[in-house]
Amino acid sequence: GAGVSQSPSNKVTEKGKDVELRCDPISGHTALYWYRQSLGQGLEFLIYFQGNSAPDKSGLPSDRFSAERTGGSVSTLTIQRTQQEDSAVYLCASSPDSSEQFFGPGTRLTVL
C-alpha cells in the first residue's frame, strides 16, 4: 500500500520567503509528526497531531513555524520569513497507534 508521501522532495528558496511543505500520511493513521534533521544531526521533534486533540507544538523553534492538519489527514508545515538556519531535511511520519512511526522520504529545504 501507499506509504507516507511528502512534497516537494526538494525546495530551494531565498532568505525571507515563506515555504509550505506537505505531508500525506498513511490512510487511517491518527497520529502525524513533523521532525527536522539538520546535516549530521539527529531528529528534532517539531510538532505532532493526534486525532482531534490539540497538537503538541512544543518543538516548534520559533513563531515563524506553524503547521496544520486538515480533516485529520494531510498536513502542511509552513515556515515564514525563512532563514539560512532553517535549511534541513523536514521529515513527516504517521502512526496508527503508539507502536511505530512510518516515515516519509523527507523534503530537503535549502535557504539561500
Binding site: 497520529a31 509528526y33 521532525y35 544531526q41 539527529g42 531528529l43 528534532e44 521533534f45 505532532y48 493526534q50 503538541d56 521529515l91 511520519a93 502512526s95 503508539s98 507502536s99 511505530e100 512511526q101 516515515f103 516519509g104 522520504p105 523527507g106
Partner: protein, 113 residues
C-alpha cells in the same frame, strides 16, 4: 524528563564481526523504546521495539536489543555485520502517556570489508 543517550556517534566494525550500538535511557516509568535505521538517501525504518513484554527483542535483519532496567540501557547488537548494515541508527523513547517520541543523536555504523 525522558531522554535517550547514544554513547557513540560513530562505530566501525569489520564485516563478519559483532555489532554493538549503545543506548541509555532516562525514564521514571517503564519506557517504550525503539531502534530505527536510516540508510543513505532512504527513509527511516523501524528495526525493533520494546514495549514491556520480553526484555530481549528481536528485530529485522538479524538485529536484537536487550532492555536492562538495572543499567537503564537498550543496546542494539548483531552477531555478524554485513556491508549492507552501514547506516545511521537512532535510539528512540516514547514519552509516557503521549504519542511524542524523543530521538537520540544517532550512531553512524561503518562496515569495513
Amino acid at each position: 524528563a525522558q531522554s535517550v543517550t547514544q554513547l557513540d556517534s560513530h562505530v566501525s566494525v569489520s564485516e563478519g564481526t559483532p555489532v554493538l550500538l549503545r543506548c541509555n535511557y532516562s525514564s521514571s516509568y517503564s519506557p517504550s523504546l525503539f531502534w530505527y535505521v536510516q540508510h543513505p538517501n532512504k527513509g527511516l525504518q523501524l528495526l525493533l521495539k520494546y514495549t514491556s513484554a520480553a526484555t530481549l527483542v528481536k528485530g529485522i535483519n538479524g538485529f536484537e536489543a536487550e532492555f536492562k532496567k538495572s543499567e537503564t540501557s537498550f543496546h542494539l547488537t548483531k552477531p555478524s555485520a554485513h556491508m549492507s548494515d552501514a547506516a545511521e541508527y537512532f535510539c528512540v523513547v516514547r514519552v509516557s502517556g503521549t504519542y511524542k517520541y524523543i530521538f537520540g543523536t544517532g550512531t553512524r555504523l561503518k562496515v569495513l570489508a
